[in-house]
C-alpha cells in the first residue's frame, strides 16, 4: 500500500470503522502518521494472507474484554520479530509455534489458534473495514465451490432479499450486517452453507429445520457488491460436495428501481 493510502486508511479506521463496527471499547489510535506499520506485514495483509472474516469474529469475541487497539495489535504481532531483513512470514510461523508451546492461545468458533494468528486476522479485518486496498479474491475460478457438481439439494420455496444497491446494505441487522433468508419445503440435517458470489456466508438454520439465514458482513458487501452485478447464490452440501444454484442477487446502481415480481419472486426486501 502506498504511504498516502495507508495514512488514509489509518485516519478512516480511527473514526468511521470504529463507529460502524459498533465496537464500543475498541479504539483505533492514529498518531498522525507516527504509527510505524511494518511494510512486510502490510504486504502480507494486503495480499489477503489473513482472514478478515476470522478477524471480525476475533474482535467480536475478544476485543470487548481486551480493549485491544490497532496499535496494540500491530505491536503484539511484531513483538519479538525483526523489523527488517528477515522473511517475516517465516518469523511469524515460528512465533505462532512459540505461542502454542507457551500457552498463548485463543479460541475462535472452536478453533484453537495462537494469539499471533488472532491478532493477524483482527488486523486484516480492520484493514478491510478501514478501506484498505486489499484485493478481494474474485468469485469464479478460485472460488472453493467452482469445481463442485450442480445437483438438486433441497426444494426452495422462497428467498429474499433479491436485490441491493451498490454501497448499501440490505435487510440490515442490528449488527450492521445484511441478512438473506431462504425457505425450503424440506431439508434434512446435513451441514448446509449458503455461498454468495462463490464465497461462504455465515449460515444458520433457524425456526425449525427448513428456514436458513445467511449473513453478509459489511466487509463482504464491500468486496462482493461494489459494482452493479448479478451475484450467484448457492446452497452447498459440504458433506456430499454438491451445490445448487438458488438464484442471483442483483446489485443495482443507486436510483435504479428493481422490477417487481409476483409472489414467487419473494418479498425483495423483507424477512419471511
Amino acid at each position: 500500500m502506498l504511504k498516502a493510502s495507508r495514512r488514509r486508511f489509518l485516519q478512516s479506521a480511527g473514526g468511521v470503522a470504529a463507529a460502524a463496527a459498533g465496537f464500543a471499547v475498541y479504539r483505533f489510535i492514529c498518531s498522525g502518521g507516527a504509527v510505524v506499520f511494518n511494510p512486510q506485514l502490510e504486504a502480507l495483509i494486503a495480499e489477503g494472507n489473513f482472514s478478515a472474516d476470522l478477524g471480525e469474529k476475533v474482535l467480536q469475541d475478544q476485543a470487548p474484554r481486551s480493549g485491544a487497539t490497532f496499535d496494540a495489535l500491530h505491536a503484539e504481532v511484531m513483538n519479538g520479530l525483526s523489523e527488517r531483513g528477515a522473511d517475516l512470514r517465516v518469523e511469524i510461523g515460528k512465533k505462532v509455534e512459540r505461542d502454542f508451546a507457551e500457552g498463548r492461545t485463543c479460541r475462535v468458533d472452536g478453533w484453537q489458534l495462537s494469539a499471533t494468528e488472532c491478532h493477524l486476522a483482527a488486523l486484516a479485518f480492520l484493514f478491510q473495514e478501514g478501506g484498505g486496498h486489499i484485493e478481494a479474491p474474485a468469485a469464479g475460478s478460485d472460488s472453493p465451490i467452482s469445481g463442485l457438481p450442480e445437483k438438486p439439494i433441497a426444494e426452495l420455496e422462497n428467498w429474499g432479499p433479491r436485490f441491493g444497491t451498490v454501497g448499501e446494505g440490505f435487510n440490515v441487522q442490528p449488527s450492521g450486517d445484511s441478512a438473506l433468508w431462504f425457505l425450503f419445503s424440506e431439508m434434512d440435517q446435513q451441514p448446509y452453507e449458503i455461498y454468495f458470489g462463490g464465497r461462504p456466508l455465515r449460515t444458520s438454520v433457524v425456526g425449525g429445520r427448513n428456514l436458513i439465514t445467511a449473513t453478509v458482513t459489511k466487509g463482504q458487501m464491500r468486496r462482493l457488491a461494489s459494482k452493479p452485478d448479478e451475484i450467484p447464490v448457492h446452497l452447498v452440501n459440504s458433506v456430499q460436495g454438491s451445490k445448487q444454484l438458488l438464484g442471483h442477487f442483483s446489485v443495482r446502481s443507486k436510483g435504479v428501481e428493481p422490477r417487481r415480481g409476483g409472489l414467487e419472486q419473494g418479498d425483495p426486501q423483507g424477512t419471511p
Binding site: 489473513f50 512470514r89 510461523g93 468458533d109 451441514p191 455465515r202 452447498v236 459440504s238 458433506v239
Partner: protein, 484 residues
Amino acid sequence: MILSNVGPNWPRLSYDVAIYGGGPAGISLALALSGAGLRIGLFEAGGLDPQTVGPDHPYRGENLGRPYDLASTRLRYLGGTSNHWGGWCRPLDALDFSIRPHIPLSGWPLGREALNPYLEAALEVCEVPSGGLGLAAFEHDFGYQGFIHHAHPALQVKNFLFSPPTRFGMRYRQDLEDAKDIECFLDATLVRLTTTEGAVDQASLMSSDGVRLQVSADFHVLAMGAVENARTLLHSEIANSSDFVGRCFSDHLGRTVGKALLRFENRYFQHAVRNGDRQVRALPHLSLTKQTLQEFELPNLGIVMPRISSMSLNVYGQGVKRQLDSLLQSNTQYCWVTARIENTPNPDSRITLTNESDGYGVPRVALNWRVNAFDVESLRRLCAVLGPLVGQAGGRMNIDYQVAEGAHPPGSHQAHQMGTTRMSAEADSGVVNADLRCHDLANLYVAGSSVFPTFGFANPTLTIVALSLRLAEHLRRLAGVADA
C-alpha cells in the same frame, strides 16, 4: 464332534474340562486344549444360525444407567459375537497393565510381557496379517514419515491391524467337528453352577425345549461374554466374596471431539500398507507417549482422523485454513478428530439380577452402566492438551465446545463389554486371579473380557483369545498333560 442338541440320552456328562460358551473365548480355549488327551465338553446356548431377538430373548434386560443395547450387542449362536465383529485388533499396551496412581483400581496382576507369546499366537487364531512382523507390527512405522506424530516428541503412533474378520463359528466349525476329544453341544444353556467344599461339583444346563443336563468336570470354564459370565455367577450365588461380581462393567468410549487442519500426510484411517512385499491393512492412531499421558494424568487413547472435504469448513474455518496455508505455504487437509479413550473402572457400574426370569428360569440382568467423572473430564483435558500440541506441530484443531467444557458426556458404547469378573492379585479386590481361576473356588475359571481389570482403548478380542490360549496352557499343566 458337534452335537446339535442335548438329547434325553445324556442326562449326565463328565469331562476333564467343561467350557460354557462357544464364542472366540470358548472356541479358542477348546481347540488349544485339544490333542492333549483331555476330554473337553463345549456347551453353546445357541445353534449354528442366528436367533431372532424377540421380547423373550434371554439377552434382554433392564437399563438402569446410561442407555445400553444389551440384546443387539451380543449374538447367541456358535461363534458368539464374532459373527458380527469388525475384526479390529490391537493388544493392550504395557501401560494398560500397570498401576497408575491417577486411575483407581488400575493394574493387572500380570504384565504385558507375560501375554506376549499368547498374543503372537492369537494373531494366527484371529487370522490377522501383520506383514511378517508379528506383534511388532502394532508399533511399526509403515512409511509414516510425513505424519504429524513425527513432528512433536509427545506424539506417537499406535496401529490397529485387521482380522478378515474371523467368524469363529464358521471358521473353526470343521476343526470342532474333527476333534475327537471335543464334544460340542449346541442348544445347551448353562443355567446354574452348584458347589461343594470350595469347588464346582455340577453344572445344570437346559435346552430350548426343556431337556435338562448335568455336567461334572475337573475344571469348569465360563466363556459366555462379560454379561452372561457375571449373570451366571450371581444367579449361582458363588465366587462373590469380594462383592465384585457384576461390578466395574465397562465399554469403550469413542467420540468425535473435533476437527483439524493438517499440513501433514494424513492417513490416520484404515488403509493398505506394506512391509517389504507383504501388504497389510492398518489403521494408525495418533496417540500420546506414555510420559505425556502420565504427565497430564490422561487415560490411554488413540485418535483417528478421517479426511473430509474442506468444503465442510464454515466461513471461519475457511479463514483459519487460508491463514494456515499462507503461513505454512502449503495446502492443509481437513479431517475429523475421533478419539477412542480408555475408560476407567467404576465399581458402581454394574450388573445385577432382576426379579423377572427368562425361559430357562435365569433372572434377567439389570445393567447400571456408569462412567466415571474422570473419564468425562479426561476428554476435556485431552482437548486442552492436544490443541496446542497439534498447533505446535503445524496443524490446527477445532474442539467441540461442549466436549471441551466437559459438559458433554462421552459418546456411545462400542459393544465391548468388559470388567464384570475382574482379575486381581488379592481375593478382596477381584473375582479371578492371574490364572483366571475364581479366588473362591478351586476349579472354576473365567475366560473373556469380563476378567479385564483395566481396559485400555484397544478392542478386546485379540486379548480375549490370548488369555484363552494362556488358560489352555495352564489347564494342561494342571492336568499333567502340559507336554502333550
